[in-house]
């Protein structure tokens, strides 16, 4: 009994550390003011405004391909529409990079590297990092060539983060649907397990094996 409990406990603790919360290997933590965090999370209210802010302040250098948002210079290029008719709104990456190579290389000349596409950046970095990075790039990443384009505009930065969140993550309605699916699935399995156990008990009793 003791052995069972002991091995169960260390197994659970082990997988907790490895899969859920590794207390031995913490990663950097960033902070942001609570009211701006709320803005950044409220995709429903602010993602649209965030997209407009993105187009005004960021689109000159960054694309968000998964939302069919391309560099401003590319967006104005008539070739884009022809390509989109052929490939759909979200262009394959190699097609995009090949056709608009000049626009991308021009950015590389100015900044030393092509500013990355931001379609999944919210998933990679999270809202606190993005908020701090956009407001003070050199402070977060001293070697970066990204200019501080949103200085003194923390609220608008939070809204841009909300837009990036809306591109990376499923919509709140979809997220709720998935939660329901998950709860339903797990409930079903637990019920099945319990029923099987009880049924087995009855069968075994009948054949005198319990």
């Amino acid at each position: 009994m003791i052995k069972t409990v002991f091995f169960t406990i260390i197994t659970v603790i082990f997988f907790y550390i490895i899969w859920i919360n590794n207390v031995f290997a913490p990663h950097e933590h960033y902070e942001m003011p609570a009211q701006h965090a709320k803005l950044a999370e409220d995709v429903k209210s602010y993602a649209k405004e965030g997209k407009q802010l993105f187009e005004q302040n960021c689109q000159a250098c960054h694309s968000v391909r998964y939302d069919a948002v391309y560099l401003s210079s590319v967006q104005a290029n008539p070739k884009l529409q022809t390509l989109q008719e052929k490939y759909g709104k979200v262009l394959p990456r190699d097609v995009y990079e090949a056709v608009f190579n000049e626009d991308l290389m021009a950015l590389k000349e100015s900044f030393g590297k092509v500013p990355p596409d931001l379609s999944t950046i919210y998933l990679v970095k999270g809202k606190e990092y993005l908020y701090n990075f956009i407001l003070e790039p050199q402070k977060i990443l001293p070697s970066t060539s990204m200019p501080a384009v949103m200085t003194g505009r923390p609220e608008e930065t939070a809204k841009i983060v909300a837009y990036l969140k809306s591109v990376s993550e499923p919509s709140p309605e979809e997220k709720n649907k998935r939660v329901l699916m998950g709860v339903g699935t797990i409930a079903y399995l637990v019920v099945m397990g319990v029923l099987l156990w009880i049924w087995r008990g009855r069968i075994l009793k009948r054949i005198g094996l319990h």
Binding site: K89, T185, M192, L195, L196, R206
Partner: protein, 172 residues
């Protein structure tokens, strides 16, 4: 009493098991459904102003080629058709869309604004087996059994929206 309770349990488990199997199959089968992106191809907008008069542009709608015809100002057609179907439907429209698939055996006809063979007025000519259609897709001559199909379409300002019901309500 005990027997019926055990059978009931067995039945319940069997039933729930079937539900479980369906629950697993549902998302798997749903992955075959068209995605939102491909469904958006169900509607195509064409800027009529960008088509030169008297010319035909070919676009793609729901995977099929489609003629977008822009008639010249005060266009008069000298030809004769077997039956006036499309012409009635598309009367008065300066621009309209026709499914560019020959109703004989499926080739894509060619727009011949200078005429072709014995017809010296604008026609659609299918080179595969010699079918001829009027600019509105009605049959003039050749093996095609019926006029070119007309997709649902409507005008929105200078745009022709193919795929939405308008002056043509549904696919003919």
């Amino acid at each position: 009493m005990e027997t019926s309770r055990r059978d009931l349990m067995g039945l319940a488990i069997g039933g729930l098991g079937a539900v479980g199997v369906l629950g697993v199959l549902y998302p798997i089968v749903k992955t075959l459904a068209p995605s939102a992106a491909s469904l958006s191809g169900a509607m195509v907008e064409v800027d009529v102003a960008s088509i030169p008069e008297g010319q035909v542009r070919v676009v793609s709608w729901k995977g099929k080629p489609v003629f977008v015809v822009k008639l010249s100002q005060g266009f008069q057609w000298m030809g004769k058709v077997k039956e006036e179907n499309n012409a009635k439907l598309l009367q008065g429209q300066e621009a309209y869309a026709l499914i560019a698939v020959c109703t004989h055996l499926g080739c894509v006809p060619l727009w011949k604004p200078q005429g072709e063979a014995e017809f010296n007025y604008p026609v659609f000519h299918c080179p595969c087996h010699g079918g001829f259609y009027s600019p509105w897709g009605d049959n003039i001559a050749g093996p095609p059994p019926r006029p070119l199909h007309v997709p649902p379409q409507k005008r929105e300002g200078s745009k022709l929206v193919i795929g939405e019901p308008g002056f043509v309500k549904e696919l003919t």
